[in-house]
Symmetry: C2
């Protein structure tokens, strides 16, 4: 299935890739892949991502900025990339801090149209 | 004053720079600079950024990711970079979609220690 292929590819082809998920904005995952051995808890993350996207959407509206296309978070332990697929779904990729952010962004960007075609 | 210098420099030396602000996490600006002619409403933005950072901090805690260092938002109209200065303050830089993101990130990163020294 294309969803499963995309999330696995995003993790395995990005240096430092830990996990990827295609998710609805209510935090329910459609497809996910966690690199074997990584301790990412995607269920908890889903809820938090949903909250985060809601806050981001409110911020974008308040600044009349148009819909969110990409969100990038850097913390001590992870780099997180979120990319909107449509108003209902997004894809997230979690990397180690030293992961290849540019490659990750590229893979999400080129994968998005193929995912959206399946909806 | 260094705060005023930094926000002006961040906007004027980044191609596509529109506005920059050093702000407390409660949304109150310490110093801001808006490029003449740009229609950015920093007061509204401040409240939204504060909400966004609160949601992001909760997400980071939930994923045990360590403190947030950088947040990047892409919408149709703006690129927004937020960089944590300390647990209380952050700096934000708003660019046009075609703005030089890499230069903006660089300027915020190298300016942060000089700002923090003043607190």
């Amino acid at each position: 299935m294309i969803f499963d292929e995309v999330v696995k590819k995003a993790v395995e082809e990005t240096s430092g890739g830990l996990a990827a998920v295609i998710m609805a904005r209510d935090g329910i995952a459609l497809s996910s892949y966690i690199k074997p051995g990584s301790a990412i808890d995607l269920e908890t993350l889903g809820i938090e991502y949903a909250n985060l996207l809601a806050a981001t959407s409110r911020a974008s509206e308040a600044m009349d900025a148009g819909p969110l296309s990409e969100l990038q978070l850097t913390t001590d332990k992870y780099l997180t990339l979120l990319r909107s697929l449509n108003p209902e779904y997004f894809i997230a990729l979690i990397l180690e801090p030293a992961g290849n952010l540019g490659k990750g962004r590229f893979i999400l960007r080129v994968s998005a149209p193929a995912i959206v075609k399946e909806f």
